[in-house]
C-alpha cells in the first residue's frame, strides 16, 4: 500500500496517516492480548519508519497520539452509553452490547499500555528507488 501511495504521489508530495500499534517491548503474553483486542494488523513487527523508507519516502516524522486515542475511545464509550436506547433501535440489542464490550476492552487495553496510536508523516522522494515504478504501472 505504501508503494502504491508512492506511485500516485508527485515527487515531493506528502503522506500523513494514523495507525494503531502494539508498543515495542511487551511480553509475548501481552502481545497476544493486544492482538485479540486491537485491529487485525496491529501486531506487525516491522516498524513503520522502515516500511516508509523501503517504499521510497524521506523526511519521516512520528507523533505519539495515544493519549488522544484513549480520550476518543472513552468519548465513544460514554456517548454510546448515553444514547444506548436510540442505538438499540438501529443496531439491535446484540449489536449495541457487542459494541459497548469492545469499547470497554479497548479502553482497558490502552490504559494497560497494550495499544498505542501514532501519526506518521513523510515525503515522497524525488529519486526513483525502484526501476519497476517507472515501467510497470498501467495507470501512467
Amino acid at each position: 500500500m505504501l508503494r502504491a501511495s508512492r506511485r500516485v504521489l508527485r515527487p515531493g508530495g506528502r503522506l500523513a496517516f494514523h495507525t494503531i500499534q502494539v508498543p515495542p517491548g511487551l511480553s509475548a503474553a501481552k502481545r497476544r492480548r493486544a492482538s485479540l483486542v486491537g485491529p487485525p494488523g496491529v501486531a506487525v513487527r516491522t516498524t513503520y519508519p522502515s516500511l516508509l523508507r523501503s517504499a521510497g519516502f524521506i523526511e519521516i516524522d512520528e507523533v505519539d497520539v495515544t493519549a488522544e486515542y484513549l480520550a476518543t475511545q472513552r468519548r465513544w464509550l460514554a456517548a454510546t452509553l448515553r444514547h444506548e436506547e436510540g442505538l438499540r433501535s438501529v443496531l439491535g440489542d446484540d449489536g449495541v452490547h457487542e459494541g459497548i464490550e469492545r469499547r470497554r476492552r479497548t479502553v482497558d487495553a490502552i490504559e494497560g499500555g497494550l495499544l498505542s496510536r501514532t501519526l506518521y508523516s513523510a515525503t515522497r522522494s524525488h529519486r526513483l528507488r525502484y526501476g519497476r515504478d517507472a515501467r510497470s504501472s498501467p495507470n501512467r
Binding site: S5, R7, R14, H18, V44, N139
Partner: protein
C-alpha cells in the same frame, strides 16, 4: 457442506479482502446515517460524516496543516469510508479530494455528501483499495489515511 457454504468458502479464497470484514463495514455504513449513530459520532469525534474511527475534528485540522492543503492541491483519502476526513478538508481548506474505499456503502455515502455539500467539481468518490489505487501516477499532492494499515 451445502452448495451455499461451498460457494462462500470458494469466494473467500478468491477475494483479496475478508468477506466478513466487507460485510461488517457495509452494515456499519448502512446504518451510520441514522440519527442516534450520528449523535454519538458528533460527541465522540466532533464530526458529522458518518465516521466510525478515531480521527477527531482537531486531528483532521492538524492533518490539513501538516499536508499544507489549500486551493489547487489534490488530496487522496485512502480507506475514506463515507468521506471523513477528506471531504471535510476539501470543504474547510478548498483543496480537491479523491475519496477511495473498497466498500460500496461507504462510497455511496461519500457521493451523497459530495452532492449535498456541493463539492462536485472538486471531489470524487471511487471504489478501490490502498494496494490498487485507480489513480494516475504522480498526480496527487498529498495522501491521508487513518488506521487502514493496522
Amino acid at each position: 457442506m451445502s452448495v451455499q457454504q461451498t460457494t462462500s468458502a470458494r469466494l473467500s479464497d478468491v477475494v483479496v479482502h475478508s468477506l466478513i470484514e466487507t460485510e461488517r463495514f457495509g452494515q456499519r455504513y448502512a446504518v451510520s446515517g441514522e440519527a442516534a449513530p450520528r449523535t454519538v459520532e458528533l460527541e465522540a469525534l466532533g464530526s458529522d460524516y458518518r465516521a466510525t474511527g478515531y480521527t477527531t475534528r482537531e486531528q483532521a485540522d492538524d492533518i490539513g496543516r501538516l499536508l499544507e492543503l489549500g486551493p489547487g492541491s489534490v488530496l487522496l483519502d485512502i480507506g475514506a469510508g463515507c468521506g471523513w476526513p477528506g471531504l471535510y478538508l476539501a470543504t474547510t481548506l478548498g483543496c480537491s479530494v479523491v475519496s477511495v474505499d473498497p466498500i460500496m456503502e461507504g462510497c455511496s455515502a461519500a457521493l451523497d455528501r459530495i452532492g449535498s455539500d456541493d463539492l462536485g467539481p472538486r471531489a470524487l468518490a471511487l471504489l478501490g483499495t490502498g494496494e490498487q489505487l485507480p489513480i494516475r501516477s504522480g498526480s496527487i499532492d498529498a495522501i491521508v489515511h487513518a488506521d487502514v494499515m493496522c
